[in-house]
Symmetry: C2
């Protein structure tokens, strides 16, 4: 493992960075919607909406619920919890890290000298 214990699947993040998918997700924040409504409100064509919804579903961001002809999409909480944790893993550490810059600077300079004459 690479020290990522936030449960954050990085594909989830990358799936959320497509502009139209972000719009979909933000729209669904206010509640579940059908494909048609999503396409309408975001002024995109139905096929594109379906495609994005598929991607989002496949990555666990959304779930579908069938209602007759329609498919109602809604957000799943998990990815956002994971994303929040992931972001926190940075914000929590950030302030103390700030102090380490000076230390690192000196360290780097030392290493530079050492590499001038390695013990050989």
């Amino acid at each position: 493992m690479a020290g990522n214990d936030t449960g954050m699947d990085m594909n989830t993040l990358s799936v959320l960075t497509e502009p139209n998918r972000i719009r979909i997700v933000e729209l669904l924040r206010d509640g579940p919607l059908t494909v048609g409504e999503i396409a309408d409100r975001l002024e995109m064509r139905q096929p594109q909406a379906s495609k994005h919804l598929k991607v989002l579903s496949e990555h666990g961001v959304l779930t579908v619920q069938a209602d007759a002809n329609r498919r109602i999409y809604k957000l799943r909480p998990e990815p956002f919890q994971a994303l929040e944790s992931w972001a926190q893993s940075f914000t929590r550490l950030m302030s103390e890290r700030y102090d380490k810059l000076d230390a690192y600077l000196r360290e780097v300079q030392n290493k530079a000298k050492k590499e001038d004459n390695p013990t050989t």
Copy 2:
């Protein structure tokens, strides 16, 4: 505005789509590093590292500090705070939204009937 008041600029986020950039960001979580070290530890070539670092800097995820020949890159806290807020704007609402599914279902079905014979 489109109801996004978290200060989250999604273009900032979109920069984190690229796997190697995520790796860089996670590496820098442990503290600032020079270009060479980043390239080494992530086993990528220096030019690619520089390119990614440039993109990350341009989008405000990193800052540079020059030290002689070297450039020390470190994370900026703002994007991650914004990301955390953004994620929270979902996790906070998610549980109550869950209850609204049934309501929405009925609403959708009503609307369907109305559209069958619009008042004209």
